[in-house]
């Protein structure tokens, strides 16, 4: 399944390789010296990385390394609490925003455990995501590309299967005009067959050229999708390079990812 | 004079202290009222202070407000201001309108909040800090009994306000305490014959009773007198104080076979239970071939105002009512009405009367000493305070006078004219021996608080 249409005007054409900006121009996305706490626990301990527009970054590490916390911090959620550092997305300072403001400025987080809203149908979940600007795809368009969701549009969303819920979670974000897609464990808890389906969807999303950070326990799958990789250990960045480098370096993988 | 000898030790300081103390106390032995027994809060200046302890907040705040108005009016009259009110009709002419025993009457007020603890605390404050020589007031028997006991311990006189339970001058009577207001025993004795005439002797009664001392007392008294008439008591159910919604207690009445509902409720409880009983159609029911009746043995004009139309045709009793035509009542209604713009309630009348009675007793005794004042009140006969000839019995410090049986008016002529007096039960009919089962108690001895 390919997703060919791209209505993201003014950006690079789909499929084109991103060009490194000349003269040290600021990156599309920048995280500078992030420190974040869950209550008293010091989780994100000085994380830095840049992402160019259209790049896909795999954020890897062992359990507890701080990957999900980093994503949640970037999405400006109430916890973990950002105590120091700056986050810039397309020249906008995210670090001074709350989560809903960040979402209005282009951040789209697909949370771990999907967080489909109970009590609402599939249709309502999608409508909900279009209440706040900026709006992306129309709901009809989403139904065209996710026929399974179209079939279940009046069903209570929490009764969908795991894979369908993941589709809905992604669809919710596509319904918004997202500049930075944050995927938190998209394959978690899904059977291998479903994982492949989601992978295909994500490849389609990749062709849209949306800047993405993917956190995934299944590091190999993430690395196949990603252009770059950043590895976290104990809340700090221990590797920042291309995805291919990680795929090639077994020692690196063994040390920090135990695979 | 060096009192401190070396070495400085405990014994020498004790010795010095005693010597110093005697030296300092010497003058007072000669200037105090050594010629009469010393007593607490003896007024030494130009004023004598009375303590008015009424509910200024809480469910009975409106009754408390009326009591306070009556007290202030009484003080005015005692000090010779205003038109003199019932001082003009009072049988005793000991008071001259120039204060009491040559001293101007002043007062302090306290808020009982209709709670015993708060009442005791405020009475204590008035005695200890403000130097009150007499405490009066209150609209709840629980509060009255608590404050009466405190006054007994402290050594001041307590002139009860509105309290209806037998216990106040019954099992909880005290030598320092005096009650003018009637009790449930007298209500029972007065109501029973009127109920017999109006409703017959073949009746089945269902009691709803507020679950505290006064409720139990009234239920007991009414049961005693109605059963003596031949009535059957089908049930007596306790309701929590301040219940609000009585529907769950009223529905069992509907099919219990009872044809009279007796509401031993006061204040807010009575307003609610009566209104709801009427809403449930109890007034229009026919049971056992007879019309269903509701009796509220004690109610006041203030409660009647609260109950609105529901009070029409309901029998009850009161200590006094402003429509009485004797000289004392007319004088009081005129005085109070001109001062405040509406007629006094029974709570106001009893409080006014108690203040006058205390002042008069102190004047006759020539002193404010509690034991002397008590002796002047015990066995005292008087008239002209609105209830006809009244006797303050020595054995239990309870006033005996005529009791009014009232009924809610079908066609009130004004917003105050809600009750009509259907019978004035003569005093002889409601008298009882002080050692009768429901009302006996130990008076104890008076306490001067010296």
């Amino acid at each position: 399944m390919t997703l060919l249409d791209n209505q993201f005007e003014g950006r690079q054409a789909p499929g084109a390789k991103p060009v490194k900006p000349q003269g040290g121009a600021p990156a599309f996305f920048s995280a500078w010296d992030l420190h974040a706490y869950y209550g008293e626990s010091y989780i994100v301990q000085g994380v830095n990385f840049d992402i160019r527009e259209g790049e896909i970054l795999a954020l890897l590490g062992r359990n507890g390394a701080g990957k999900t916390s980093t994503l949640r911090t970037i999405a400006r959620m109430d916890n973990p609490h950002l105590t120091h550092g700056e986050i810039w997305l397309d020249h906008k300072p995210l670090h001074s925003m709350k989560s809903h403001e960040a979402a209005r400025n282009g951040v789209g987080l697909v949370p771990e455990d999907r967080r489909i809203i109970p009590g609402l149908t599939v249709q309502e979940n999608l409508e909900l995501s279009q209440i706040a600007p900026p709006i992306g795809w129309t709901i009809e368009r989403i139904y065209d590309h996710f026929p399974r969701l179209a079939e279940r549009r009046s069903q209570e969303a929490v009764t969908l299967s795991g894979g369908e819920q993941q589709m809905l979670a992604l669809a919710r974000i596509l319904a918004r005009d997202v500049k930075l897609l944050l995927l938190d464990e998209p394959y978690e808890g899904l059977a291998p067959v479903i994982v492949q389906e989601i992978e295909r969807i994500l490849e389609g999303v990749k062709e849209l050229g949306i800047t993405t950070i993917i956190v995934e326990q299944n590091a190999i799958a993430a690395l196949h999708l990603a252009d770059r990789a950043v590895i976290l250990d104990m809340g700090e960045v221990v590797f920042d390079g291309t995805a291919q480098e990680v795929l090639d370096n077994a020692d690196l993988r063994q040390e920090y990812l135990a695979i | 004079m060096t009192l401190i000898h070396k070495p400085l030790n405990r014994r020498s300081i004790l010795k010095a202290g005693t010597a110093g103390g005697v030296a300092l106390a010497t003058p007072t032995i000669f200037t105090s009222s050594a010629w009469s027994a010393p007593y607490l809060n003896e007024p030494t200046g130009a004023e004598v202070t009375l303590g008015f302890n009424v509910p200024q907040t809480g469910a009975y705040a409106d009754e408390g407000a009326d009591e306070l108005r009556a007290y202030q009016l009484a003080v005015k009259h005692l000090n010779g201001e205003g038109d003199g009110g019932m001082l003009n009709t009072f049988s005793s002419k000991a008071l001259g309108g120039n204060g009491v025993n040559g001293k101007k009457v002043a007062f302090v007020t306290g808020d009982t909040q209709t709670k015993s603890d708060a009442a005791r605390a405020s009475a204590k404050r008035m005695i200890e800090k403000d130097g009150a020589i007499m405490i009066t007031g209150g609209s709840s028997s629980g509060v009255a009994i608590a404050v009466q006991s405190l006054c007994q311990e402290a050594g001041v006189i307590f002139m009860a306000g509105l309290t209806h339970s037998n216990d106040t001058t019954g099992k909880d009577r005290r030598a320092n305490g005096f009650r003018h207001f009637f009790n449930t025993e007298m209500t029972g004795a007065a109501l029973a014959p009127v109920l017999k005439n109006a409703m017959g002797t073949d009746r089945k009664a269902y009691h709803l009773t507020a679950d505290y001392t006064w409720g139990w007392s009234q239920e007991g008294s009414i049961k005693k007198y109605t059963e003596a008439l031949g009535w059957d008591t089908v049930a007596a159910v306790r309701t929590p104080l301040g219940a609000g919604d009585f529907s769950q207690y009223l529905t069992p009445v509907l099919n219990s076979g009872a044809d009279v509902l007796i509401l031993n409720h006061y204040g807010k409880d009575m307003v609610n239970s009566l209104t709801q009983a009427v809403q449930f159609g109890l007034r229009d029911k026919m049971v056992n071939g007879k019309k269903f009746e509701i009796v509220v043995p004690l109610f006041s004009r203030l409660m009647a105002q609260g109950a609105g139309d529901a009070i029409k045709g309901i029998f009850g009793s009161t200590n006094w009512h402003w429509s009485l035509q004797d000289e004392g009542s007319k004088a009081f209604v005129k005085s109070f009405g001109q001062e405040y713009g509406f007629p006094p309630s029974q709570a106001a009348q009893t409080c006014y009367a108690q203040t006058i009675l205390y002042a008069d007793a102190a004047q006759r005794a020539g002193t404010f000493e509690p034991c002397a004042v008590a002796a002047a009140l015990e066995g005292y006969d008087f008239d002209g305070l609105g209830n006809g000839p009244t006797h303050y019995r020595a054995a239990d410090h309870q006033c005996f006078k005529d009791v009014l049986v009232v009924k809610g008016k079908e066609n009130p002529s004004s917003q105050f004219d809600l009750l009509e007096v259907v019978e004035i039960t003569p005093r002889a009919q409601v008298e009882y021996a002080p050692d009768m089962e429901d009302v006996k108690g130990d008076l104890g001895t008076c306490n001067n608080g010296a």
Binding site: R115, G119 | T251, T275, G306
Partner: protein, 342 residues
Amino acid sequence: MDEILLQFLNGLDKGGAYALIALGLTLIFGTLGVVNFAHGALFMLGAFCAVSFNLLLSLQKVTVDPTKTTAWGTPLEVRTPYVEAYLGDFGHWILNYSVPVSILLAIPVMLLIGFAMERGLIKHFYTRPHADQILVTFGLAIVLQEIVKSIYGANPIPQVAPDVVSGAADIGAMLGLGAGVIVYPWWRMVYLLFSLVVIAIVFAFLQFTTFGMVVRAGMADRETVGLLGINIERRFTIVFAIAAVVAGLAGVMYTPILPPDYHMGMDFLVLSFVVVVVGGMGSLTGAVSAGFLLGILQSFASMNEVKAIFPGIDQIIIYLVAVVILLVRPRGLMGRKGVMEN
């Protein structure tokens, strides 16, 4: 048998009041995350809207009649309500229907009060611990109570139901059980119906409007709603105002059943919290169901037969149920998992 039916009806209409108040409480807790101990005061304020409306209508023209005097010697004042003097029969009709008509007054007044309360006080406590919220809203409740007491006095001010529904319905006769066997006041049944209608309106609003959908989403998962760019706090004022109106309307229509006084808010507040705890904090259906359930339980517990077996059960049954629920299933009958459980 008829006793049981009567107590069931009692329980339903009492339960209606509980359900309405608990509904607002749960809305506020579920959406704003605020424990609102001033909610009972809102019920009381609604009741006093009815009282004020009636007082306004009863404003009397005072003319002094020099030929008659009062018992204390001043000239008698003759009072006629303005409304009757100027509007005649219609005026009389409005006075009679003052309680239901006062709904028209209560809705805007309660909206305003809810708005003021939320913007003035509640919004500063969104992120504070629940204990702080309880303290400050309870304090507000006391202040409101005292204000009402100082204006209207401490005694209850009874309101009458319109004449047409002020009597009792002979339900027994309707069901063919014989006349006079089961008699129940008309107004109480009107109240039950009214509460069901209001509950239905609130649920319809939540189910069928976009705003309602956002509120439902916010109650279910506030974090995710933020991730979708929605500033849920901007909706809080409206939600609070709606909850205030619901509580106020419950109060308005309750006045003929229970003469309103300044303290009635507190009496209902404790019960409403118990209802919310039993039904499940944050569950609207739980709050409504628990309201009716506890109302019915309370009524049955005060049947003499039941009290003969368990004396005093009528006073404690509700709290007993709450204790059992808290021990066995702390989230409440329909509560969201994890609320109150740790």
